[in-house]
Every structure is written in structure tokens, then in C-alpha cells.
């Protein structure tokens, strides 16, 4: 291939189903975006928090399987989740989970055809951030009250 004049060319490399290369628009890659913009930052955060959720599911499976196994295994998982590393991980997981959930709500609205204009996109983006903070604090307030009991 010739030398690239524009970084966006990197996104134009695709293949036909028979394997031959073709110049066509591909799903955008990260380097073409200004990640300091709220819109693109929240967009990629939706994906990243989705991946974090996947890791969080591993914790859920561990917690369920340990509880099914007996008091010994449950004590191990509780020991880890109440350690500073476990609490830190769970806190990040809670924030990621609420962000992904609320941002998903925004995506569902987009899928239904609402909120596409730029001012609304920024407004809903800020709402997602505020909502994430509020729900994370609420979740941990409940957790701390339960823990202290």
C-alpha cells in the first residue's frame, strides 16, 4: 500500500468475503477521535465498562459457586471481597455497572430515534455521569449500612 496521507485511511481497509482487500469505511478506530470530547469519551467508556462488567460476572459466579460449596469457600470469597483490594474492585465495578446501565438507557433512546442532536447528546451524557455518581453512592450507602449492622 502507498504511504498514508490521512490517519483516517487506516479505517478504510476492509476485505471482501473472498478475502481480497478493498478500500471501504470500517468501524472507526480509536486514533481518529479526540478523546477529550465528552461524546467520544463516553462512547468508548460504554464499551470499556461493558468489558469490566464481564469481569464482574466472574466475581458473581465465584460468589454463587462459593456459597453453594459451603461455609469454607464462602469465608474465602468474603475475605477477598472485604479486603481493601476487593472493596476497591467492587467499588470500581459498581461505578462501571451503573455507567454501563445508564449509558445503555441512552443507547436504547438513540435506537428508538430520540436524542440525536448535539445539545441533547451532551445533556444526556452529563445526566449519565451524574446518575452514575448518584447510584454508586446510593449502592455503597446501602452496603456500608448493611456492613455496619
Amino acid at each position: 500500500m502507498s504511504i498514508m496521507q490521512d490517519s483516517r485511511e487506516a479505517t478504510m481497509f476492509g476485505r471482501r468475503s473472498d478475502g481480497t482487500p478493498i478500500r471501504r469505511p470500517l468501524s472507526p478506530h480509536l486514533q481518529v477521535y479526540d478523546m477529550m470530547q465528552l461524546t467520544s469519551a463516553l462512547s468508548i467508556s460504554g464499551r470499556i465498562t461493558g468489558v469490566i462488567w464481564s469481569v464482574g460476572l466472574l466475581v458473581l459466579v465465584w460468589w454463587l459457586v462459593a456459597t453453594a460449596s459451603g461455609p469454607g469457600a464462602y469465608a474465602t470469597v468474603t475475605w477477598f471481597l472485604t479486603s481493601w483490594l476487593g472493596v476497591l474492585g467492587l467499588f470500581g465495578l459498581t461505578a462501571a455497572a451503573w455507567f454501563h446501565t445508564l449509558n445503555g438507557l441512552r443507547h436504547l433512546a438513540w435506537d428508538a430515534g430520540y436524542g440525536y442532536d448535539i445539545p441533547t447528546t451532551y445533556k444526556s451524557g452529563r445526566a449519565v455521569l451524574i446518575g452514575t455518581a448518584a447510584m454508586t453512592v446510593l449502592t455503597w450507602l446501602i452496603a456500608i449500612i448493611a456492613w455496619a449492622r
Binding site: L60, V61, L64, D111, A146, W147
Partner: protein, 132 residues
């Protein structure tokens, strides 16, 4: 379908004939399932996150009894199935977008799906062992 005339006879396979002719018109299923599972997961996540928070530091018997309660067990099983379906679908989209090599993409998609199946079964079995 049953009567094959000589004019229709060809040495080309059906796959060979359709290659390069566009979509199979079945591409909306994954998209729709991702949206449906996300809508179903909204109330389940709200319920689970707040319930799990209220179980923080709970002794073994309390957690076990909570999972064993039929209401919680049913919702947990639903959440497990939907969450792993949603995760596998989401990871598939990420790999379709970013994987450069076809073999890596295919291996990644089906590898993640296999892991999701096994973990979902393990989680469901754990809930059933406690609840039944």
C-alpha cells in the same frame, strides 16, 4: 425444489454462488437480542445491585437463605442467562470491530461464547443447588 432440470444443474456450490452478493438478510437477530436482553436486564440490575449491597458482610446463612428464596432464585437464574447472553454478544461486537485477523476474530467470538456458556451453567447450578 424436488425437480432438478438440466438447466439448473451446475458444478458450483450454493456457497460459491452467493459469495460476494451481499447480506443473508438475517443480520438483525444479534442486534435485536442485544437490545432485548438490555431492556430485560435494566430492572434485574437495579434489583441485584441493591440486594447485593444489602448483603455486604452478611454471614454464610443469611446469604444462603437469600439465594434460596424462590423469588430471588428465579430472578438470579434469569439475570444469569440474560447477563451472559448480553456479555457474549457485546464481546462479539468488540472483536468484530477490532480483530485484524479473521482466525483471531472467529476464535475469540466462539471462545468467549464457550466460556460464557460454562460460567452461566456453573452459576445456575450453584443457585439451583442452594434453592432446590
Amino acid at each position: 425444489m424436488a425437480k432438478d432440470s438440466a438447466a439448473d444443474a451446475t458444478m458450483r456450490s450454493p456457497l460459491g454462488r452467493v459469495r460476494g452478493f451481499g447480506s443473508a438478510k438475517g443480520g438483525t437477530h444479534h442486534w435485536l437480542m442485544q437490545r432485548l436482553t438490555s431492556v430485560a436486564l435494566l430492572p434485574l440490575v437495579l434489583w441485584f445491585a441493591l440486594s447485593a449491597a444489602s448483603l455486604a458482610g452478611a454471614p454464610y446463612e443469611v446469604t444462603r437463605d437469600w439465594i434460596a428464596h424462590p423469588f430471588n432464585a428465579v430472578l438470579l437464574l434469569a439475570a444469569i442467562a440474560l447477563a451472559f447472553h448480553h456479555t457474549a454478544a457485546g464481546m462479539q461486537v468488540i472483536m468484530e470491530d477490532y480483530a485484524n485477523q479473521e482466525w483471531a476474530k472467529v476464535a475469540g467470538i466462539y471462545g468467549v461464547r464457550a466460556i460464557c456458556w460454562l460460567l452461566a451453567i456453573a452459576a445456575a447450578l450453584a443457585v439451583l443447588r442452594i434453592a432446590v
